[in-house]
């Protein structure tokens, strides 16, 4: 509150921002999302998080699929790979395996993630690939101009559900929790600070971190997931929630009417990279002969 009243002196702020340095994670060109899009929040959150973690631009790769959210890599000044619809996770996995030193951030929207890409999520999760998956969930297909997505609410009217959506929306957090994701969190585009903190934590987490980011589509959804509605629905995760309690996390995830914002679940377990190093050690020790010889 108060900081709103305290006068902010632009040149000081600018100085602070320049000094703070997160601008260097931005691309030169302006994001092409619709003005007001929640994705700006992620973009900004990520740049701040990367800066906070002191990651060098050259060591970060942002991988995306197809969709509004997937335009993301173009707007951050890191290495980026804008790939195919639904394939962000396998590609990101490849990048990570290709060069372990890289910090890999996978981004995508709900269609990219839970429709065409749904088949890849369990595997990236259970393998505990050491990367961060930011899913920008606005419950609609924006790039194709407004059709239902797997997370669209029942009864939602879109160009593809002119008579109302009758498909039960799926519950991403519940999915990920049951997919053995080692870090599951939720944030809201309308709360940039919290979002930034969550992104930071997610990146810091060793292993596969999944952050669902609730966001409105300001262009094609004027009724359901608006800033207003979301803003009223979301709530802070209960103080007493224990992130190591998977069942509690699941129960929490099922309270979809009032999405909790925060860390749902976290566990420490070997990452794919570590498993592979382990395999390398064993390989040296065992010196197996390949099948057929």
């Amino acid at each position: 509150m108060n900081e709103r009243v305290e006068p902010v002196y632009l040149e000081e702020k600018l100085e602070e921002i320049r000094a703070d340095g997160h601008l260097r994670y931005r691309s030169r060109s302006l994001p092409t999302w619709c003005p007001g899009c929640g994705y700006f929040s992620m973009a900004d959150g990520l740049t701040v998080a990367l800066n906070r973690l002191g990651l060098d631009n050259k060591d970060v790769v942002v991988v995306s699929g197809i969709g509004c959210a997937s335009r993301f890599p173009f707007f951050v000044n890191t290495y980026g790979f804008h790939t195919l619809h639904g394939r962000v996770l396998p590609v990101a996995t490849g990048v990570k395996i290709g060069n372990d030193a890289l910090t890999v951030i996978a981004v995508g929207g709900d269609g990219d993630a839970f429709a065409i890409g749904a088949g890849h999520i369990p595997h990236a999760a259970r393998r505990n690939v050491d990367m961060t998956y930011l899913v920008f969930d606005n419950g609609i297909y924006g790039l194709t101009k407004g059709q239902t997505s797997p997370t669209s609410a029942l009864g939602f009217r879109t160009s593809s559900t002119p008579y109302e959506n009758g498909d039960m929306p799926l519950n991403p957090l519940l999915m990920l929790l049951s997919y053995e994701a080692s870090w599951v969190g939720q944030a809201y585009a309308g709360r940039p600070h919290h979002l930034t903190d969550m992104i930071t934590m997610a990146i810091e987490h060793k292993g596969f971190s999944f952050l669902r980011i609730l966001s409105p589509c300001v262009t094609f959804d004027k009724t359901d997931n608006t800033y207003r509605n979301l803003g009223m629905k979301v709530r802070d995760i209960p103080e007493d929630h224990d992130p190591s309690d998977r069942l509690a996390a699941m129960a929490l995830a099922m309270e979809e009417d009032h999405p909790a914002l925060g860390l749902f679940y976290r566990e420490d377990r070997d990452t794919l990279g570590e498993v592979m190093q382990d395999a390398a050690r064993k390989a040296q020790a065992m010196n197996l002969a390949p099948k057929g010889l």
């Binding site: 009243v5 006068p7 302006l30 994001p31 003005p35 940039p192 600070h193």
Partner: protein, 607 residues
Amino acid sequence: MALTNRIGQNTDLNRNGREAAAESDVHYSRDPRDFGWLRENVPCQAACPAGTDIPAYILAILEGKYGDSYEINREANVLPGVLGRICSRPCETECRHGWPGNGEPVSICHLKRSAADLKHRGHRLNESLYGPSGKKVAIVGSGPAGIAAAHDLSLMGHDVTLFEREDEPGGMLRYGIPEFRLPRDVLREEIHNALRLGVELRTGVSIGNGEGEIPFSTLRADFDAVLLATGCMAATELPLRDDPSGRAVADFENVEYGFDFLLDMHRGKPKKVGKRVAVVGAGFTALDCARVARRLGGEDISIHLRTTEEYIPVTRDEILEAKAENVGFLGLRTPIALKGENGHLEAVEFVQNRLGGWRENGRRKAIPIKGSEFDFDCDTVLVAIGQRTAHDFLDAELELDRWNNARTDENGMTSLEGVFAAGDYVKGASTVIEAVGQGREVARAIDTWLMGKPRRVPAVRIEKVEAPLRQRAWDFIPRTHMPTEEIEERCANLTEEVEKGYDDALAHEEARRCYLCNLHYKIDVDNCIYCRACIEVAPKNCIKMVEGIEIHADGTYGKLLETGEWDHVGAIWIDNVECIRCGACYEVCPTQCISITRNQLCMVEVE
């Protein structure tokens, strides 16, 4: 410098009837950048010599709180009802709403009046008093400057004695301005309110060296400080071709200085004019003379200007009203001779002018055209080309400036220790609001001088505002015109007020037009996600992606340095100079990172 917000607290109370805003929602700043912001962003207030918090009082009106609005006015100017009628309105020419592309300025002055008119009858004044200081201050002259100073000094706990030559206080307000413009009951009430907190008013008492007059030196002896606010109590002589001091004026019975003409009339001396009246001059006095002449039965009344009506120092409304009353304006002429026989003037000889270059006061030069002299026949001539100060009442040497006005330092003190001066006496003939403003300023200076230290300093009060108080649609409301008395009616009667004032509906409608420029729309860069939703809905080029900002020598801000390169966009920032406070951006911001504060000048105590 440690600041408290006691005054702020009070102002909170009277401002918007709401109980004081939460401590946390208010902040006080004395940062030049915040003062600078106000200067640049609240042009009306900046333009107001008294520094009236115009947006604040208009907001009060918008909220239907006329009383509050009135009190807000009184903080800067103890005579709102008066100024609400006869102010020269320097604010309105600066009004943002009048800027190119924004339409017409807000009727700030009329709104001020409606605050006075429409405050309910049981209205309680709000004054915050200091304890007695034991200091005595003498004020010479009860014009607007004197009254304002007297009021403020008395609040500060000093014993003030106000000396007035005439029978009633008010100076030019009482004796210069005709009643149809300024009803005397309004004047009397506000003066009374200003002085009743223990100011000793001594009317009919002259300071001077004549008999029955109190010598200036006595005042200096009896009082800790003396304030000279005697104004300009002499008419400026009319320079003629072979008569630079215009002695000729006195030679004709039907030629008179407008100043004296009005003074006499208001002292109760009956006045007459002929059928054909020529007024020479271009100020309020000239217009007043013309309009009075109309009411005194004059039929063919003309005002003769050296330049043209576009360049005269009166408000447009005044000119229109005069014209409505069938007063003619005849421009580009300078009187060079008065012609007549045995003390009766028959014609005025003018020389035709052409417009010349600009003068530093923003008026145009008039350059006589050789051989273009001509005669203008008339029955009465009223000369109202200005007034000047008189110093003959002093018994001490006072340093004067090149206009023969008292020279003062930045604290309003003259060359004489403990002797201060304010109002027209310092400025020369100027506006009422300037006088009021000066009165306040000098009062503070005197207080500081008396107490040996400033007790109150100006600060910027920054208060959180929860929501935009306006709608974009209001920007398209046309300026509300002041209802006026029918021509016949008014011309039949010298005292019938011409302007009827707004009723509640009109006042409210006009109040809506105000942009409330003191609302500071600010983007919280820490919360901003740079989504540019605000830019999309912006009505003007008022939200910009910036990488820097010009900083003036005095530490205030200049232009925003814009950029289109994402990695250089340090902030998305609202250009408050362009901003018309429509609130559209505030509404769309997904992260509510756009905050609104009301930034106001105020005085804060010095511990």
